[in-house]
Amino acid sequence: MKLLRAERGLSQAKLAELLDVSRQSVIAIETGKYDPSLPLAFKIARVFETSIEKIFEDTENASEAAE
């Protein structure tokens, strides 16, 4: 998400405003400290005009596949 935000020249504060969340929420999602709910994930996808899968990795599935 951080990459997509940088590509679009959005600050964390601006993205927070677009998503109607606090800046701390954006920071927590970007640093992987917080996984957004499905409605918020869809909202993020809408802002970046892409699909959820292109923004968020299925880390659990990826680690299982690696094993």
């Binding site: 964390q12 504060a13 601006k14 927070a16 405003e17 677009l18 998503l19 109607d20 969340v21 606090s22 800046r23 701390q24 929420s25 920071i27 927590a28 999602i29 640093t31 917080y34 957004p36 709910s37 918020l40």
Partner: protein, 139 residues
């Protein structure tokens, strides 16, 4: 610059919290002065003054509940964790102290102090968190 509704919710909470604290201070100080006007205040007057001081404190929890409903999901999670941590530590200390008190090992402490302890712990937890998060915020 957070989202519009989240920003409004936080603003509303801070404003109403400050107003509630003003009412609390007025009730405590005003109540103490009012009681001094009596040689021996009637029980109902003392009770009224005590309740007038506790109602703003109770109202703070109403405000916290409203903030939890109106804010974003991450803030809700964080606030809930803070409340649980502060509430858990406060109640654990109170229960432990209570048992020690019943065993006549420690002196009696009025239950009033549970409130200030809870709010102090909430503040400490939030302060600790914000210090950690400050390092993570991009410059």
């Amino acid at each position: 610059m957070a989202g519009q509704s989240v920003r409004l919710a936080n603003k509303r909470y801070r404003r109403d919290f400050a107003l509630t604290m003003v009412v609390y201070v007025v009730a405590v100080i005003g109540g103490a002065f009012f009681l001094k006007t009596f040689d021996t205040p009637p029980v109902w007057v003392s009770a009224l003054v005590a309740l007038a001081s506790s109602i703003p404190v109770i109202f703070v929890f109403v405000l916290m509940g409203r903030l939890l409903r109106e804010t974003d999901e991450y803030t809700r999670l964080r606030q809930t964790e803070v409340l649980l941590l502060a509430g858990g530590i406060t109640l654990s200390l109170c229960v432990t102290w209570g048992f020690l008190e019943m065993a006549e090992i420690v002196p009696h402490i009025t239950s009033f102090w549970a409130g200030p302890l809870f709010f102090f712990l909430m503040g400490m937890v939030q302060l600790g968190r914000s210090l950690v998060e400050k390092k993570e915020i991009e410059t």
